[in-house]
Each structure stands twice: as C-alpha cells, then as structure tokens.
C-alpha cells in the first residue's frame, strides 16, 4: 500500500542527547500491524465494484481497547486484519470511527483475547522544536517492527494529503519517510506525541516527514466521544490582513497592528448572517487578532484558525468586531463547512449515478474529475468556484452528463458530454435524485437542458425503452442507478 508512510532516521548530536532522556517503554505490547484489503470505487464505470488492493500500515492501542491509526490505512476497506508483535495470529478488525478530514481512524477488534497483555499508550504534549522523537512502524511492509529516530524540525499548518482539501497543525520531523507504516506512533518520553502520516517522495525533498500532533488527535477523540464523528468546524469566512497603512486609515483604525478585514462570508456557514463582509475582527475568544491574521497562543503567534481548529461542532466562539466603526460582539455557534467537500477526496462511499438511455449522470466531485481527467473549461470553473461563488445555493450537487454509452438512441448526443444538467422536462435539477425522479415520470420526450447551452438534448421515451435492455447487456450495466447517500447537503 503505497499510501502508507513511515519515518526513518537521520542521526545527529542533538538526537543522541535527547535519547538519553527517554525512559524505556515496551512498545511491542502497544503496536499492531494492520493489513487492509481495500476496494477503490470505479467512478468511470460506477456500477462496477472497483479494483482490489492490499496494503500494510501500523496502529497502536489506546485506552478503551481501541486501536488508533490513520484514516488512509483503512479507507475503502473490505477486510482488515490486525496482528500483534510476536504473535502469529491474525485478528479481524473493523473501522469504528473514521475522520477523513484529519486522517485518523479507530479500529476495533471484537475478539477480546486480542487486547489481553496489550498496553495502551498515552498521549503527550506538543513536542518542542529540536527535541528528539522515536518513530515506530512497518516501513516498506516488513513483518517486524522498525524503530527510527529524528528531531522536531517545524510546527505549522500543513495540507493533509489524504483528503487533499484540509489543512491542520502538523509537526515536521527530519526522519526520512517511507511507505508502509502510516499510523505508527511517534514517542517522546514514553508518550505519544504524534502519528506518522505523510512525507514527500524522494525526488521532492528528503529528511522531511510529517506527523499528526496530539492537539489534532485529542480533538478527534473528543469529537467521537458521543459515538459519532462530526468533522471539523469552520468559521467559513475569508479574513484579509490589515497591514497596509492606507487601508487602516481608510477604515479609521489606529496604527496598532490589530484587526483583520472580512472579505467574504459564506452565507450557509457558521458566520452567515452574523458577520458581514467589511467587518473588522478584533479578537476571538479573548485573543487579540493581530493584523497578519495570527493570534498569540501559548506564547507563539499562530494562525487565527487555530482557535477554531480545537473546537467541536456546536461549540461557540466570541468575536469582537467593528462594523461601520461601531464595536460589536457576536457569538458564533460553529458548524462544519459542507460545500468544500466537493474538492475533497471521497472514501467509503459507492459512486452515485443515474444511467438513462446510455447517458450516465454523476454529481461533480474530485473523484469524478480525476477518474475522467476532465478538462472541460466550464466544468473546471464550476468545480473551482463551487464555494466562493456559492454555486451550491442553486446546485447543491453539480450533476453532469459524465459519460455516454454509445447506442443508436444517443447517436447524436456526443457533443453534450461533460455539460451540466440544468433542467429535465422543465424541472430544475439540484441533486442527482432530481435526475432519477425526472426520468421516472412518464413523458413522450425527455428534454434535458444544460447550463450555457440553449439547444436541449432530447430522448424519445419509446426509443429509450427499445434501447434499454440492449444497453444493459452490451455494457454489463449491473444496476441502472445508485443514489446512495448524499454527501453535500
């Protein structure tokens, strides 16, 4: 499984010093080797069940007989087997919680014998820069546990590549990283300070590996405490720095490096209706907002998003702001942001589609864009601007004619491929279900209108019925539609 990653060692003087401080922990009794058989959905042929692959990663036991690992170790899993060190037996595991936005997952093993003699690891603090850490896992898929060492190089926001749409706090360590033991613990002073999860391929950078630090892990564990994962919450606003002198004076602000200007607010997001474009945000939960969009936290200047990063769904933040020069305080109840998921990798869901008359309709998603290598200018525009232009208001799902299974019934429709469905028989199409509903209604003609095209595609009911079985047989269409569950609401 090339998705999995592990850290290797770069030795240095500082490390040797640090190692002396680390008390011995019997990690062998905490770490597990996870073998996942995954089936990745086939967005190109959505009724197919997808290709099967096997991968290896690491995980470790935490309190409550739970195994903590990376989401990408167990994504799209059909079967998970868990092994302990020095134990020939394989146990069947099951994903209990998965958080694709922060690449974390909890795996359960139902056989209670498994956890006997296993020692749960405990979470430690954010490690200091330059302090030494030990990294455990199964690099390049080996059978036996591997240990490597490195130091903490940097602590910053990083893009989490698993979803590709999320950024959270991450810790960079100088150990080389290899595929194969993602999910393995990074220890310092006998406590977990992170989970190894991603790195660069050798031709980009070396000695740069990343781990998920404990504030992110703790937030995940707190989120699932009620038995459900609710995802990260977000203010869903765009703040802009206020460091230009003319801008500050034009807004009537003193020269005190305080405050950021709100440039856009997502109407459906947490701040919709409460914060307006043009507001100047002065403080958040009592932390002064510095004009370059940072706040001081634990003695360090960090991105102001970090305040919200640690909160859960339904938590509140208090924001002091200036609106038209008048001071105001608003309380924001935090909610996850949904529209941005269109640009996020989708896991653990079957591709949703409707096939009618050889025309395949699918909602726009990152997986779809990648499966078809879509290059269409209009589609890319809708994809890239789905959030900032609030396209989701009109089209919670952007339903496209993604593919045409050639047949006499659709012989002249090839030019409509990759167009966005606007209407079918006068009914506005907001989601894929609307497409299924429209084709269910009896009509002599099905008139499909696309965005930006005035000429409709027309299917005659009799011709579609005549072609139906032929298309199903020729193309091995297992089911004609899968409406599944809707991701974007």
């Amino acid at each position: 499984m090339t998705r999995c990653i592990i850290l290797a060692v770069i030795a240095g003087l500082t490390i040797t010093n640090a190692i002396a401080d680390i008390p011995k922990v019997d990690v062998h009794k905490s770490i597990v080797r996870i073998t996942t058989t995954a089936q990745d959905p086939d967005y190109h042929v959505p009724w197919n069940s997808g290709s099967i692959s096997t991968g290896i990663g690491a995980g470790f036991v935490i309190d409550g007989n739970r195994i903590l690992t990376n989401a990408h170790v167990v994504s799209n899993a059909r079967f998970i087997s868990v092994q302990r060190e020095n134990d020939p037996r394989q146990y069947s595991g099951e994903v209990q919680f998965v958080a694709h936005d922060c690449d974390l997952a909890i795996v359960k093993v139902s056989d209670s014998a498994f956890f006997k003699a296993m020692l749960p690891l405990h979470l430690g603090p954010l490690p200091a820069i330059q302090s030494g850490v030990d990294v455990y896992g199964y690099p390049i898929g080996g059978e036996r546990l591997s240990v490597t060492q490195g130091i903490v190089s940097r602590i910053d926001f990083e893009s989490y590549s698993h979803s590709s749409a999320d950024s959270h706090l991450a810790v960079q360590i100088d150990a080389a990283i290899n595929p194969g033991n993602s999910g393995g613990p990074v220890l310092q002073n006998g406590k977990v300070v992170g989970i190894a999860f991603q790195g660069y391929s050798g031709d980009v950078a070396q000695g740069v590996g990343f781990m998920i630090p404990t504030p992110v892990i703790q937030r995940f564990l707190a989120d699932i405490a009620d038995g459900h994962y609710h995802r990260y919450v977000d203010l869903s606003i765009t703040p802009e720095s206020l460091t230009n002198s003319a801008a500050r004076r034009a807004l009537g602000l003193p020269d005190d490096d305080t405050g950021v200007l709100v440039s856009s607010v997502e109407s459906d997001g947490s701040c919709g209706g409460k914060i307006e474009p043009g507001d100047v945000l002065l403080s958040i939960d009592g932390h002064r907002i510095i004009s370059d969009q940072t706040v001081e936290l634990d003695g360090d200047n960090v991105d102001l998003a970090e305040i919200v990063e640690r909160k859960l769904k339904g938590d509140k933040v208090k924001i002091d702001l200036l609106r038209n020069h008048q001071p105001m305080t608003v309380e924001i109840e935090l909610q996850p942001n949904n529209p941005y998921l269109i640009q996020s990798n989708i896991f653990d869901e079957d591709p949703r589609f409707v096939m009618f008359g050889g025309l395949v309709f699918q909602p726009l998603s990152k997986n779809l864009m990648e499966a078809y290598q879509i290059d269409d200018l209009q589609l890319r525009y809708y994809y890239n601007n789905f959030v900032n232009e609030e396209i989701f208001e009109q089209h919670p799902e952007v339903v496209i004619l993604s593919n045409i299974l050639p047949d006499p019934v659709n012989a002249y429709l090839a030019g409509f491929r990759y167009q966005i469905v606007d209407e079918i028989n006068g009914q506005k199409i907001r989601t894929l279900s609307d497409v299924a509903d429209a084709f269910k209604k009896t009509a002599d003609f099905y008139v499909i209108k696309f965005i930006g095209a005035n000429r409709p595609a027309v299917l005659q009911r009799s011709a579609v019925e005549e072609a139906r079985q032929r298309i199903i047989d020729n193309y091995g269409v297992r089911v004609e539609q899968d409406l599944g569950q809707q991701t974007l609401k």
């Binding site: 765009t238 802009e240 720095s241 206020l242 460091t243 230009n244 002198s245 003319a246 801008a247 004076r249 034009a250 807004l251 200007l261 440039s263 856009s264 474009p277 043009g278 200018l377 209009q378 890319r380 525009y381 890239n384 601007n385 900032n388 019934v409 012989a411 002249y412 429709l413 030019g415 003609f445 008139v447 930006g452 095209a453 005035n454 000429r455 595609a457 027309v458 299917l459 005659q460 011709a463």
Partner: protein, 512 residues
Amino acid sequence: MKFLLFCPVWALLATSTLAQQTPGVSPKATPTVVPQPASAPKEKVAAELKGGSVLRVNSTDQSYDFFRPWSKKAPVNRRGLGAVIDGGEVLVTAELVWDSNFIELEKPETGERSSAKVAVIDYETNLALLKPTDAGFMKDLQPLDTNGQVKVGDHLSVVQLEANGTPVSTDALVTSAEVGHYVLDDFSYLLFKMSCPLQYRDNSFTLPIVDDHHLISLLLRYDPRSQTIEAISTPVIQHFLKETEHESYAGFPSFGIEFAPTRDPQFRHFEKLSDAEGGIYVEDVAPNSPAARADIKTGDVLLSIGNRDIDADGDYSDPLYGRLSITHLITTLFYCGEKVPVTLLRHGERKDVSVELFHRPPQDYVIDPYVIGHAPRYLILGGLVFEELSRQYLREWGPAWEKEAPQRFVYFDRYQGDLFPEPRKIVFLSQILPNPDTIGYPSLNYMMVERVNGEPIYRLEDLAKAIEKPINGFHKIEFDLDPKVLYLDAAKVQADAALLQKTYSLPLLHRF
C-alpha cells in the same frame, strides 16, 4: 520567426477548437469534405513569372507587450513574397506586416527597393494591401489577374524565389475546399488544401499560388510531414479586393449566431421538423448583431439563407465547391450592407426575414478577439496596473494559452456572451508594482475591478473618472475576488507618481 510557417499543423488545429463564439457564424458541425472530381491534371510551368509579378517584402514588426502594456516587445524581421496586382499595389498576408514599423519592397532580379505603407489590412482574413511610397517603383511590373477560379482537382503553382531572385514554381494539387480556421482564433473562412512537396527557400511568409497569370491563393501554412498546404482561397481574396475599392474598407460581414445541427431524429420529432427539410437550430444570437436586428431568436430553425437551402449540418450546396458551411456563404459570398433573405421556422411556423449584413469590429466584443495595430489600453494607479481584458492579453501565455492563462479569464472569454450581456469591457488588475503605497498588500493579479470609489467600472475611462473623486482622501478599489477591497491614499499616490514612473521607467501612467 522564420519557421513559423512550418510549424506542424496539429498545433494550429488545437487552437481552432475554440470556434465557439460568433464572428459571422460558428459551425458546430464537422467541416464538409468536398468530393474530388475526376479531372485531368493541367500541365503547368512557372515560366510566365519572368515579367516580375512578385516582390520580396521585408517587414520589421514590433508588437506590444501586454504584460507590460507601456512597452513594445523586441522587433522581429519577417520576409515574404507579395503578389503584384492591378493599381500598383501588392497583396500579402496580414501576418507578414501586422504591427509593422517599417516595410520594404524589393524587386527580386534587380534588388531595387522602395519602402511601402499598408493601404488596407484585414486581420480576420489575414490579407493586406501594400502601396509603395515611390509610385514609379511599380511601373515596369506585370500585375497578376485576380479574377481566376479553381476547382478541387486543379493543379496550381506555388511561387518561391531562389536567393538570387530566380522564381521557382512547385506544382500543387488542390485536394479540398472547406471552411476552416485562418490565423486568429474564431475566424474561419473558405480554405484550400493542397498537396505539394514544398522546399524551404529564401523567404517564409506569404507565398503566392498562381494559375498562369492568375493569382489564386496565398499560402497560410505548410505541414512538411504530410506535405500539405492550407491557403487563403480565391473567393476570400476576391471579396477582400472588391471591398478595398470602396472609400472605407467595411470588412467581412458577420451574422451573429451560434448554431447546432438538427440531424438527431428524436430532436427533429420533438421540434416537429418534417423529415424532408434540413435546417439549423439557433443556439445563441449575439446582441446587436445582424441576426439580432432582424429579430432572429434562440430556438429558431433556419431553413435557407440567401435562397440557398441549409441542410441539417449547416451546409449549403455551392456551385463550385459542393457542400460548404454557410459560414462561407454569409462571410464571403455576401458583402456588408447587403440585405439577405432568410427563411426560418419558429414554433412550427414559417417566417421570412431580411438580414442586413455588417462587420462586427473587435472593439464590439466585451473581450476583444484581437488587439493588433494599436497599443493596449492601461492605467497605473499607485503601482496597481489596470488593463482591459482581451484575447491578445491571454495569448501572451503562448500557443497553449487556453490551458496556461488564468482560467477565470479564459472562462470569461469563452462565455462572454452569457456572462456579460450588456456592452462593456472587463477592467482588471494585471499586476502590482511594489512601492511604498502597496506595502502590506500581497502580490495580486488577474482580479476584475467592479467598483472604484463607489462607481461601477465598465471600461478604463470609468476608472479614470472615478479616481478623480476619492472618498475621504482614499481610493477604494473593489474586486470580484478576495481580498475584494484595496485602499490607496489618494494624495500620497499623486505625490509618489513621478517617483513610481522613474523607478519602473514608465513612459506614461496611462494610455487609452
């Protein structure tokens, strides 16, 4: 630049896929392939050329740099052959002389030279007429006739010159005549394709193609791998020359529709089009175009234009070239100012309308399809560089500009008719020249300006007017994208202007 002519054909085909907008009519159907009549090849030689019907044309061209609109790019020298025609004028491709600073005509045998001026230039059909500044220069030359006519299957001669001035002619077989992309995106006219084993010789741009003493065609491009020529066709040259006889050159007419074929039987049933008739479905009508003024509407099915029936693919039957796109009929066989009868079906009812044809100049588009021959418009305020969006600007990203240029602008360009129905221009921030007034602003670019000091901005003139009225001493500039608003201190910007101009060597802070 010498080898531009010889760039492979696939690269040129890639740009022609944008044939979406409406200079005239954009066919969405595949171009017609004209069947090749079985006629015996004519025996041809180049001996007749000795009288001096071609001239060498040397042109020094210097185009504007749209990334730095205050300056020009490095000058380039282009060479080509011009065809001497009646009236003491020389016909060349527009490409040879556009944005020219200096043009020189040279008699190949004697080397005698004269400078020349562009009399008429049409960038869309890629044709230009040159006139020597010394009228006597043309005296002893033998003009080519321009009233010739060829068919598919005819043999022609491509004229080249050896370095010593001796004319060389290469036999070319006309293999097809079809409507295709000329040199600017979106502008398509009748093309001749020819099969011809051409060798690279002394000159590059503009090779005349003749039949005896008739000028038939000018070479557009040559693909050395397949040994095929694409050339400007006789009807286009004849239309151009006829139009130049008028006091002011009116250009080639446009119609102003986008259309789709009506082949699909299910679509025909739905639209209640009888099986016997052809017809094209009007997808879009450009505002203020000839079609719009004749009250042609989206959803109409056009059955005939100028009493020629249109088939379901948008072709008519041409007496010379067989099935051809109606683009040729509208742009080339008719002239600006002509009233053309059109029969259409609207909601099943036949209707006859008369369309008065006229040319749509590039400035009439929201985003000019080309800016050639005059300077780009810009305004610099406090280091913020504002320009008006044009295809010429986007083309600065090179041949792959549709992929490489800012995608939001490419989208604006492609869908300008839908996105911006009212007449206007797109004023945008092209870059920031860092200076004390912009400290704290990130390096921003490619953002469309919506309002300045509260006034909506539809063109650079609006911007110039709006900055005369700062709000409380500040310019408030609003954009379509984050950060949405930038402020500048009006007095400080004015005080710093001279320094900015000096620092970045800006000859002018605005030009429009």
